[in-house]
């Protein structure tokens, strides 16, 4: 399974996540976002940058509460507003959409 960006084919899994995380670039992100019916605005890019920096430093995706705290403090919101803002940007959730578009590994597990 793959997506095509600027004439190059990139492998994605059945959930639409990049198989090779080194393939990520901003054009790929836009394509992944298109697949999620999301138009990348400034707030979206801010979040993608935050996710990628976090992953580079800590080798894990930030927990959702870390994400909402970051949004809350940057935008002067409370927790609930920050959570709604996050889902407003990514209606299917930060793990499913934000992490996918940011080129992070797929979160695991149900236990």
């Amino acid at each position: 399974m793959g997506i095509e960006v600027n004439g190059v084919n990139y492998e994605v899994d059945e959930n639409g996540y990049l198989v090779n995380l080194e393939d990520w670039n901003e054009d790929v992100a836009v394509k992944l976002a298109e697949g999620e019916e999301i138009e990348m605005g400034e707030a979206h890019w801010d979040l993608v940058k935050f996710l990628r920096n976090y992953y580079e430093e800590y080798q894990i995706a930030p927990a959702v509460k870390v994400l909402t705290k970051a949004i809350a403090s940057e935008k002067g919101m409370d927790k609930k507003e920050a959570s709604e803002f996050l889902y407003g940007m990514f209606p299917k959730g930060p793990a499913l959409q934000a992490c996918k578009i940011a080129g992070l590994p797929k979160p695991t597990g149900c236990v």
């Binding site: 940057e74 407003g88 590994p105």
Partner: protein, 376 residues
């Protein structure tokens, strides 16, 4: 809107998101389904005003309210793993005999409540003729708490529904009767996480080898620090294999719990021969007579042998026979063992105590016999 810290103002798209009067989705976030419309009118009338109950025969309860109204419950076993067709059959029975109401118990039995005592017998006949055993009440062997296994779970070492079917075929008569000293709760789990829960008798997978790591793919499918953090004995360390970032397991430290596998699918711990079964006894959630207790391991190294797991069901049979013969009224399995002592438990069930059953984990000392109480 106030400007943000640092004086930046919200972009238009941010404003759109924050001020849009309706969410993009039309979901009604209702939470649990409402219950009042699912209560029989006699139940609603006497809600919270019940006086006593009796068990006229196995599988049938009779509850009497302060008003004098009585309601009969017929309880029957189900596979838990049902189909819409099976559920529609239960609905037909509910419509015919229980005024269109039914419910399920925490242990997967179906219940039909009716104020008409003359519906009880025909309901029992119909349930039995459709293959649903009527029972599960009082001092019986109740049904097995279990989850998904190979049908659905992403980390199972075995199947769940198949094990349950094999166990319940074996103990079928004890489900329908009320001949045990007290209730016997069973559970089964397909990995060490033990989703089936504590029980009087539980059969739980036990892994016996450390995980096998897929170094080629680990870094792309797993978040390495998460897998490292999951290990309760700090046996996992980062490493590089074939030029790729990966993890290694200190096999001497590894306790084969499988926690890392849940975080990282590239650390496969399930094995068709080396993932085996252990049997546990003595779990009890109720506060009656003795405080709630966790279960203890009494057998292990039993093979994972689908489709009917005869070795495991044989051990269950031995434990149940000894308990049925030796337990006093009201003694749960754990209480029976406390009275007769573990030495007699192992003798009467024919199981073997070995040094692996001595606790070596976090609170081991609390299980040592810190006294001179001996059973000879």
């Amino acid at each position: 809107m106030n400007p943000l810290p640092g004086g930046r103002h919200y972009t238009q798209s941010e404003k759109n998101i924050m001020s849009s009067p309706e969410k993009k989705w039309k979901t009604i976030e209702s939470g649990p389904h409402t219950y009042e419309e699912a209560l029989h009118p006699v139940v609603r009338k006497n809600y919270g005003k019940w006086k006593y109950h009796e068990i006229p025969r196995p599988g049938v309860l009779m509850h009497v309210a302060e008003s004098g109204d009585a309601i009969w419950t017929v309880r029957a076993g189900t596979p838990r793993q049902d189909t819409v067709d099976m559920v529609r059959v239960l609905c037909d029975i509910a419509d015919k005999y229980a005024d269109g109401y039914l419910r399920f118990t925490v242990r997967n039995n179906v219940e039909f409540l009716t104020p008409n005592s003359e519906h009880v017998e025909p309901m029992i006949q119909e349930l039995e003729s459709r293959g649903f055993p009527v029972g599960g009440t009082g001092m019986c062997v109740s049904s097995v708490a279990h989850t998904q296994g190979w049908l659905h779970c992403d980390i199972p070492a075995t199947d769940a529904s198949g094990v349950v079917k094999s166990m319940m075929d074996y103990v079928y008569q004890e489900f329908k009767d009320m001949q045990m000293p007290n209730k016997v709760r069973l559970s089964t789990s397909c990995c060490s996480i033990n989703c089936g829960g504590q029980a009087d008798i539980a059969i739980v997978v036990k892994h016996t080898r450390p995980p096998r790591i897929n170094h080629d793919h680990l870094a792309t499918i797993c978040e390495l620090p998460k897998a490292v953090a999951r290990c309760p004995v700090a046996a996992i360390r980062p490493t590089v294999v074939n030029g790729k970032r990966s993890l290694m397991v200190d096999e001497a430290k590894c306790i084969c719990c499988g926690a890392c596998f849940g975080a990282c699918p590239a650390m496969e711990i399930n094995h068709p021969e080396h993932s085996k079964f252990a049997i546990w006894v003595g779990g009890k959630n109720s506060n009656a007579r003795t405080k709630p207790s966790t279960m203890s391991i009494v057998a292990h190294n039993l093979p994972n042998n689908p489709p009917r797991w005869p070795e495991v069901t044989e051990v269950i049979g031995k434990i149940l026979s000894a308990y049925k013969a030796g337990g006093r009224p009201w003694e749960r399995v754990g209480e029976w063992i406390n009275r007769i002592g573990w030495k007699r438990f192992f003798e009467e069930t024919g199981l073997t105590f070995d040094d692996n059953m001595i606790d070596s984990y976090r609170h081991a000392r609390t299980t040592f016999n810190q006294s001179a109480h001996v059973r000879f």
